[in-house]
Symmetry: D2
Subunit: 139 residues, 4 copies
């Protein structure tokens, strides 16, 4: 783990008070942690903007499992991008609807491309990608 450093932020009293109220409502017990989270979130956004960076992502898909062939096509598209899908989890929402979330890792443009292809499959009702990180350098 990286060494800790302490530094001083100058900030207006009222601004700090409003921030403290906001982060308490979100469940933070520690102001430094809330600020580190804001910092890390800017860094992850930046990581995805750089070409060739190795990243992690999740893709959330909601679909009707009765859609003909959808299961096969989902498997196919993942196999055509072998090595990008680390794991996936499937839950039954009701008799018709499923939610599946896949965890992807790899070069950012390849990960984006695979996620777009999964979301584009006929029968997927809703799909969203989360851009996240492999965590290195963010301790």
């Amino acid at each position: 783990m990286s060494q800790m450093e302490r530094y001083t932020v100058t900030i207006q009293k009222d601004l700090l008070r409003r921030f403290d109220t906001l982060i308490a409502a979100r469940g933070y017990t520690n102001r430094s942690e809330a600020i580190r989270d804001l910092i890390r979130d800017s860094l992850v956004t930046e990581e995805w903007a750089r070409k060739g960076e190795k990243v992690a992502a999740t893709v959330t898909l909601v679909y009707d499992h009765h859609t003909p062939d959808l299961g096969d096509r989902l498997t196919d598209v993942q196999h055509h991008h072998a090595g990008l899908v680390t794991a996936s989890t499937h839950v039954h929402l009701d008799n018709d609807n499923c939610l599946e979330v896949a965890i992807l890792r790899g070069e950012s443009s390849k990960v984006k491309h695979l996620a777009e292809k999964m979301i584009a499959l006929r029968g997927i009702k809703h799909g969203k990608i989360v851009h996240t990180t492999e965590g290195r350098g963010l301790e």
Copy 2:
């Protein structure tokens, strides 16, 4: 499944051509499907804006599993919101870093609140929520 309907959209030739190029690059093989996806995405956004709506979500978390007590605190916060977490999947990114994705279901404001609390936990490096749907009425 809901009955199909056909309707006619009037659109500029050039606009349609540019859209066809864009969706082909994303992997769509069918223009109607691409348009239905745009429509469904607006509906899901709207679903989350209404109070009291029952929704589904995923929360993606990246953290260092050496952080003292983080595992316990993650379990605790989920137990204090019993019934909201349907499943969760955990993968090891490297010796230090884990990615965990939890599938949540429930009333939208409760789901948001639990997700914020998980993301706020000390030791979570990056957290993001995906607002999705239980899929009813989106066939």
Copy 3:
């Protein structure tokens, strides 16, 4: 202006170094200012989530000024929401295309509603709202 306060953030050396690189690239000369901007941005997002809050916004519209009646309809919709539009600026992009940006102030749900109506007008090619603030309590 609110009184200044100094407080200490504890943070990992490497994380701080990466943040310093990022903010330098964005033109920040001062780390406290970058952190205050992250804090203020979370507060503005929260302001818009609360009902009944008085906010400011801008709506950016791109359109073809040859579209029949569009100018009149734009004026009409603004008059039906008298008091919300503070100013608007219009530039000619080329022979056909205009960009107009309107500055709105008022209760957040009314401002959103007016912006949606402007964006929905036939002939508007692209429209986007920016949620911002009247600035009080954000010094």
Copy 4:
């Protein structure tokens, strides 16, 4: 203006009904127009993702005009990026706070860079960029 084309979308009855309700609430009187807006919005997002594309943007800034030198620094940064700022409008929100919105045009990465620099200036309380378009090819 580009020639119009008519094409048929196949869609589920229920989905279409929900979409009609949503767009009516937003002020659309015409379903084709709502769908064209969804299509154009995807195209503008894509335009900004391509390198070297010529785009338009607006930057909304809220600040306290008592901040020493801020006016000068705002002018300076705009002059160092001559040719990118087409117009700007300034309104007084109250005794202290101003809202300024600048209209930018140019190559997307330069426009982004200038907007980031403006937002990073000390004394700017809140800043947001809107990625929009010069409108060509979006009729």
